[in-house]
């Protein structure tokens, strides 16, 4: 997953906040519309991310000097 993408958790918290603010009905119309759009975009973005993301599987190895190395796990190692 790209590093610049917000963490899932943060995006969900933001989404929850948007729904709550919109549900209170206190936002001016334009802000309501903006919150709605932002929320719908987040839903789309997160749903898409979940649909597209592929699990990264790494193996953690230790050199004789005690240094840790992470590298992708090759499936033939399985």
């Amino acid at each position: 997953m790209a590093e610049e993408a917000p963490r899932f958790e943060e995006a969900l918290v933001e989404l929850e906040g948007l729904v709550q603010r919109l549900e209170k009905g206190e936002l001016p119309l334009e802000e309501s519309l903006a919150a709605f759009e932002r929320g719908v975009n987040l839903v789309r973005h997160l749903t898409q991310r979940l649909a597209e993301v592929e699990q990264r599987v790494e193996v953690l190895l230790k050199t004789e000097a005690g240094r840790l190395i992470r590298r992708p796990l090759e499936d033939e190692e399985q």
Partner: protein, 438 residues
């Protein structure tokens, strides 16, 4: 050696001892003997000294460090054991002594006893206390796994993690999970994974097996590593019936590696459901917000409908409604339509059209009212703040120079012959100062 008729052969003490030792060796040799341990001593040398006894007899015994250190359980006074030992004379004190090479508890397997002993000791230390258990993270960035590189455990865990929550990375720290040294490797694996910043939870585990197979997970070094871990540790060793020391110390225990994987990540299906519910909430809230605006408009209509106000409103406001509000309304409507079109296009792309049609129709129906209501609201707000309302009533603003010049609030600031701008509600004029007073 002693023969009649000859002077007795006299032995030295050492010779006799040597003779006895040979006789013991030839006549008794290495035997298995059952008894109860008492008077156990464990000096710094690491050798074990104790008395092995039954109800009538006791014999001194020693178990040298090389033999004692491979015991998985802790011998203790009162324990019934079977030992493999050689009987020998300890020449310096002339004492008969058992040299113990191996020891097993009686009645109970050595491993079972060791398990019970360690469990009691760590339990007394508080390592199993509920208060020590840390909650598992809801959204781990990476899941650390300490298990064998090959085998069903890692395969099962990867399958479940990929299905439920592929957004989390999996970091496998391969170790041997049985045999000599396995416990140290598992402990080191937990420590290594703790050094990775994105690993928010660690699973240690292996498939089921005999008590011997699972033994690494019953060793103190693993228990200590779990307790020292800064991230929560889930223990997943064997099947339902097998409990290990690791299970007791871990923050959560799963009966199988598969169950552990399901424990540490959310399920994508649930999250997609929650996202869909959030979207429904957004749509409902927006529709209600538009409804509010509409109600305000209806209330405004009623006020306009009041005959006494109507006349005044007609006189004062019809003109503006025809011009400023009209322009604002037009702009607002155009803006709303553009936004709606863009939103509609996104929604179209994003999901099943049928599901969205209702919401969109609702939005479209609301948009006309929305634009008008917004224009009205904006106008009221401006009226309250703006001098335009005064200008409507016939006042004008005097500015020095032209309409962009500073506002003149005192004639003393002006000189005869100077040019000023007179700003009216919807027009302006240029004028020249004839004279000033005051």
């Amino acid at each position: 050696m002693l023969r009649a008729g000859r002077a007795p052969h006299i032995l030295s003490v050492s010779e006799l001892a040597q003779l006895l030792r040979s006789a013991l060796d030839a006549g008794v040799g290495t035997v298995w003997v059952a008894g109860e341990i008492s008077n156990l001593k464990r000096p710094a040398s690491g050798h074990l000294y104790f008395t092995l006894k039954d109800d009538r007899t006791q014999l001194g015994a020693v178990m040298f460090r090389s033999a004692a250190q491979v015991l998985v359980f802790q011998p203790a006074d009162g324990m019934d054991v079977v030992v493999r030992a050689r009987a020998d004379l300890y020449p310096a004190r002339g004492a008969l002594q058992l040299y113990v090479e191996a020891m097993e508890p009686r009645g109970l397997g050595a491993l079972t006893l060791a398990f019970e002993q360690l469990k009691a000791r760590l339990g007394a230390e508080g390592l199993f206390a509920d208060a020590r258990k840390r909650p598992l993270p809801r959204w781990p960035r990476a899941v650390g796994i300490v298990t064998a590189l090959h085998g069903a455990a890692i395969h099962d865990m990867r399958t479940v993690l990929a299905r439920r929550w592929p957004a989390a990375a999996v970091v496998l720290r391969p170790v041997r999970v049985q045999g000599r040294g396995a416990a140290r490797e598992v402990a080191a694996g937990i420590e290594d994974l703790n050094r990775l910043a994105d690993v928010d939870v660690v699973i240690i585990g292996r498939g089921g097996g005999s008590l011997e197979d699972l033994w690494a997970f019953n060793e103190e070094v693993v228990a200590r590593a779990i307790a020292a871990s800064t991230v929560p540790v889930v223990s997943a060793v064997g099947h339902e019936v097998d409990f290990t020391i690791a299970d007791f110390v871990a923050d959560a225990r799963a009966p199988t590696p598969t169950a552990a994987a399901a424990l540490v990540v959310p399920d994508r299906i649930d999250v997609v459901g929650a996202l869909a519910r959030a979207e429904t909430g957004l749509r409902g809230a927006l529709a209600r917000r538009v409804g509010q605006a509409r109600e305000r408009l209806v209330a405004l209509d009623r006020r306009l409908g009041d005959p006494a106000r109507r006349l005044r409103d007609l006189m004062v406001r019809v003109d503006e409604l025809g011009t400023r509000a009209g322009r604002a309304l037009a702009r607002r409507l155009a803006w709303d339509r553009r936004e709606l079109a863009a939103l509609g296009a996104r929604l179209e792309r994003g999901g099943p059209v049928a599901r969205l049609r209702g919401a969109r129709e609702q939005l479209e129906a609301a948009t006309g009212r929305l634009g008008f209501a917004a224009a009205m609201r904006v106008r009221h707000a401006l009226d309250a703040l703006s001098p335009l309302a005064c200008l409507e009533r016939g006042y004008a603003i005097v500015r020095r120079g032209d309409a962009a010049g500073p506002v003149v609030s005192d004639a003393a600031a002006l000189k005869a012959g100077e040019t000023v701008a007179l700003v009216f509600a919807r027009s302006r004029a240029r004028a020249r100062v004839e004279d000033t007073e005051g």
